[in-house]
């Protein structure tokens, strides 16, 4: 296949006759329309959902507290485990909700790459980042890891639920990857919040207790949230 310009490519297909050209179907009939929110209402609901989601996490962080070793952590560790996920989360949210050139979202290659690489980077950093201090004997305990996983998933549930409510029919094109990216944005934000709370630095704990929830949120976005967000 050669690399023609677009008009040439369309013209190249032009000798195939239109199957509908020799027949006229029944005239389309307008459906009766139920109530539907306007743009201003949708915008208001989305802002409310964003504020409620951040407030939900901030309230939990205020109750559970910031990790007690925060002041002793090297800046590189804080940047990799907390600041970077927050930054990627903000970028993911902007990309997922962005209009793109034609109003159907950004290019699927970019969206899918960030949806995969964002959660993957969280997991790789969890395992690969140098541990800032010697591990306590119980640092990798299964109970502690499951507890953190449960809390992280519970934290992510409310933003995911809010997104499902306010983003109904929001994505006409590229819904699957944009929903996955939305799930990743929520997961990364929650994962970073958990890294800000939990003082356990064991790589296995951070990977399974915090990172697994990020991956789960991304998968929920791709396979559950998409059912609501696809227009």
């Amino acid at each position: 296949m050669s690399h023609e310009t677009e008009p040439d490519f369309a013209a190249q297909l032009g000798d195939i006759p239109d199957p509908t050209a020799i027949s006229a179907g029944a005239a389309p009939v307008a459906p009766s329309l139920p109530e539907a929110p306007t743009r201003a209402q949708v915008r208001g609901r989305r802002i409310a959902a964003l504020v409620a989601s951040v407030a939900w996490l901030a309230a939990h962080l205020a109750v559970y507290g910031v990790r007690r070793d925060f002041a002793t952590l090297p800046f590189a560790y804080v940047a990799a485990q907390i600041l970077l996920p927050l930054l990627v989360s903000a970028l993911s949210l902007a990309l997922a909700l962005g209009r793109g050139r034609l109003g159907l979202g950004w290019k699927v290659g970019l969206v899918s790459a960030v949806a995969v690489l964002g959660p993957a980077s969280f997991c790789v950093i969890a395992v690969g980042a140098p541990v800032p201090r010697a591990l306590e004997p119980a640092a990798s305990s299964l109970v502690g890891t499951v507890l953190c996983f449960d809390i992280t998933v519970a934290w992510a549930a409310v933003p995911l639920f809010a997104a499902a409510i306010v983003l109904r029919g929001a994505f006409a094109g590229g819904a699957l990857w944009r929903s996955a990216l939305l799930g990743a944005a929520i997961g990364l934000f929650v994962g970073a919040t958990m890294n800000l709370h939990c003082p356990n630095v064991a790589p296995v704990h951070v990977l399974l207790g915090h990172g697994l929830a990020v991956v789960l949120a991304t998968l929920l976005g791709a396979f559950a949230l998409v059912r609501r967000t696809r227009a």
Partner: protein, 214 residues
């Protein structure tokens, strides 16, 4: 007319259609912007222009006029529900095509739809034709259209929708890629694959016809 002649004529027609669509799209985008802000009167303006195009698009995808009729209604219902998500400044046509395509994909996935899907009614073609040409040309055009419709129905959905959007709906490769949620390269390849299959089917039919005459 030779195949090259037909291609050139169809290419010129496609460019002309694209120009007409571009002019019409601007006022449609404004109508959609008003509709998204709650002006329900803009709906009829959108429906009158978009519904025939979307119904033809769905007909080409599904091969069934009845299904296309139903899916057009469903498409406008979904557009209505999602109107608050339509951002001012966006183009409504690719957005509407994307929603119509989502409707078709949902329908195609349901077993009920597949079992209920009907073959194209050839008698409808005969009743509706308005071409003022001789009987042989009409019969030949109808036969070619039927071959295209049958071949489209038999190929994969991914190839079919890429070809239909670019060849019949006047969408650019970039627009088709956005509507289908795929890369431009993939869409171009899919459309070309569909073209090759359609071209082979038409050539085979022409060969058989020539053999019969000989």
């Amino acid at each position: 007319m030779t195949a090259a002649g037909r291609a050139a004529a169809a290419g010129a027609s496609t460019k002309r259609d694209a120009l007409v669509h571009a002019v019409a799209s601007s006022s449609l985008d404004q109508a959609m912007a008003r509709y998204a802000e709650g002006d329900d009167r803009a709906f009829s303006e959108l429906f009158n222009v978009l519904a025939p195009r979307l119904q033809n698009f769905l007909r080409r995808l599904s091969g069934s006029p009845e299904l296309a009729h139903d899916l057009t209604q469903e498409t406008f219902l979904r557009m209505h529900r999602a109107r608050g998500s339509f951002v001012r400044g966006n183009a409504v046509v690719p957005w509407a095509y994307a929603i119509a395509r989502n409707c078709f994909v949902s329908e195609a996935r349901s077993l009920k739809s597949r079992s209920a899907r009907k073959a194209v009614d050839i008698t409808e073609h005969e009743a509706a034709t308005g071409l003022e040409a001789n009987a042989e040309e009409v019969a030949s055009a109808r036969q070619r259209a039927e071959i295209v419709e049958r071949t489209l129905a038999g190929m994969s959905l991914t190839n079919r929708e890429a070809f239909v959007l670019i060849r019949f709906e006047g969408q650019s490769v970039a627009e088709a890629a956005q509507i289908l949620g795929a890369s431009e390269g993939a869409v171009k390849l899919r459309a070309f694959r569909a073209y090759e299959v359609l071209r082979a089917a038409l050539s085979e039919a022409e060969g058989v016809k020539k053999g019969e005459h000989a």
